[in-house]
Symmetry: C2
Subunit: 397 residues, 2 copies
Amino acid sequence: MHHASDILLTLFLVFIAAQVGAEIAQRLRLPGVVGEIAAGAVIGPSLLGWIQPDQVLPGTPLDVLAEIGVVLLLFSVGLETRLEDLKKVGKTAFLVGVFGVLVPFGMGGVWAHASGFPWGKSLFIAAAFVATSAGITARVLQELGALQRVESKVILGAAVIDDILAMLLLGVVVSLQGGAGFDPLKLLVVLASAVGFIALVGLGGARVMRWNSTWLEKPHSPHSPLAIVLALCLGLAWLSTLLGLAAIIGAFLAGMIASETRQQHTLEKQTQPLLSLLTPFFFVITGSKIDLAQLASGEALAMLAVVTVIAIVSKLAGGWLGALALGRRSAAIVGLGMVPRGEVGVVVASLGLAAGVFSDRIYAIIVAMSLLTAMVTPPVLAWLLKRHPVQETTAAG
Amino acid sequence: MHHASDILLTLFLVFIAAQVGAEIAQRLRLPGVVGEIAAGAVIGPSLLGWIQPDQVLPGTPLDVLAEIGVVLLLFSVGLETRLEDLKKVGKTAFLVGVFGVLVPFGMGGVWAHASGFPWGKSLFIAAAFVATSAGITARVLQELGALQRVESKVILGAAVIDDILAMLLLGVVVSLQGGAGFDPLKLLVVLASAVGFIALVGLGGARVMRWNSTWLEKPHSPHSPLAIVLALCLGLAWLSTLLGLAAIIGAFLAGMIASETRQQHTLEKQTQPLLSLLTPFFFVITGSKIDLAQLASGEALAMLAVVTVIAIVSKLAGGWLGALALGRRSAAIVGLGMVPRGEVGVVVASLGLAAGVFSDRIYAIIVAMSLLTAMVTPPVLAWLLKRHPVQETTAAG
């Protein structure tokens, strides 16, 4: 009984820390995810020590729970992502998505290489600069009642493209880490396999689901549509690791396929409780891996400041460039809306740490940067949106 | 990446095996849980070997997922259990619950002792004869559209009392396993601590929740009522292991407390997806632990037949005795409705195996008995209900 008791206590502590952290963050008008990561840093080895480093090694129960949590999170992001949305939001969103990825990736990579990292490592670090957290952005826009604004639509559309491009980049940079350095042929193979997998599963699967999804309801099980797509999620997550891609890519694709079904709304609702239970493990354990001692030097803090400024400026510039057709003010709102990093940046940092590509310091700095961008954006975005209440397509709901 | 790939593959295989097993069972008009356990036996070491014994040892990721699964399952059973229901269904349900526990416990214990087990072990084995699976019974009644019948209300009410008494018995027999044998004082302490914990948490918590549950909605988190009760569930599960009780007792109490809130219906709906994802791990891993070789002798099969007959006859007799006030035909329906064992019988068997109290053979026989009672009941119950469509309180819905 004692062993079960220990594990239940750890699960309880991680879960409650996440809730307390998220609650404090939200009362400070910050995204909940910021609080969950911070809670992890507090209960981790750096401070309270409620989680020990050997409890979160790969293959431990906490590590597996965190993995399931992030797989489900990206599954749910996929579930909110429809191929059709990409078409509707059109050229502006596409340009914002592309520039919003290229500028941070370029600036991040150049900075990392200039800081002395080899190109392979630099591109991995650069990938952590890329992905906008669609969840954070959407939650902020929703809280402000601004989802009907044209800028919001562009931001959400661009976040979709951003997600896909970031996934692709992530797949590429992860596969580049074989110690083999920068091999153009390998890059091409990785790119082709990533694009092939994504195209085959994503486009083909979406087409099948749109054509007919009644078979999802054929099983007699009361859990049937959800259970089938969860099986799909786990299966595609496994398949993408088998191809050398990140598990979350498969999970995202599974979600995107499922979003084409008639049951999409039900699935979205049913996925929420799974996120409530399991994503806290990912964020708290992520936070617990930040070695605060690594940030305790002037040099590290200076590096953090530089990285954060690059992350903000590059995303703002990329989004602004892409959205210029809307006018400069709206373009600024769009650019700012793209700034928050979150899940994916942290995922890249975790992968980098697990693969031994990132040092503890780089990991701590990148996670802290993701936190800072997510912390800085919401208040400024709220201020900008209230100052420029012009560009609405319909009355704000 | 390879390690993550292995774990994802195992998760996928366990999950898909559960779905396939449940689907086959349900097409054969058997409860899904029967199929999930059978699927575990098939993919376990006895047959396909997709799960190896060292993957399900205490503290492994699969073991922890199974533990979370069963904790959530009993939480959801608690969520369907209101203190008020106990009052409404009244004396008959109470008598059915009590006799339905005492007769199987007595007959099971006497049989086990007569078979040569010492009393401590015999009572543990007897506890596995006790608990009706409220889930299986309710699902069968619902499928038959018979939930409005007076027998159904008595069965469901009795299942609640049965659950609580079974939990109590389980707590008692688990604590008796300290190698100290049958110590009346220890029994009293265990009983008092179990009753005290259950009374304090259950009655007190229920009163607090009924008095005011608006504080559940105070947090800013979008997951807030669910996340708080999940924290409560993990916390009470841990606390009950700390007191030497089973984790599921705390989880059940957490559910029962939460059922007193205004948010009970929402919580019940939100718990379903958690069960979809996590309980299959419990049942499949449970099934994978059945060593089919242990049942491959004439002696073992004879023992299984005796155990199953005792389990059916004792529950039928106990329920019938308790429900005689409804007339003999209705009493037979009630008695039969109480026959299916399931979750709790399997939980007792798992605890017995983990504590080293049960041999592999006894474990295999008790799990197989739980399966058989769950398999036998539904068709006979359907037949009886159709033959006697008299006792309805309102038109069947």
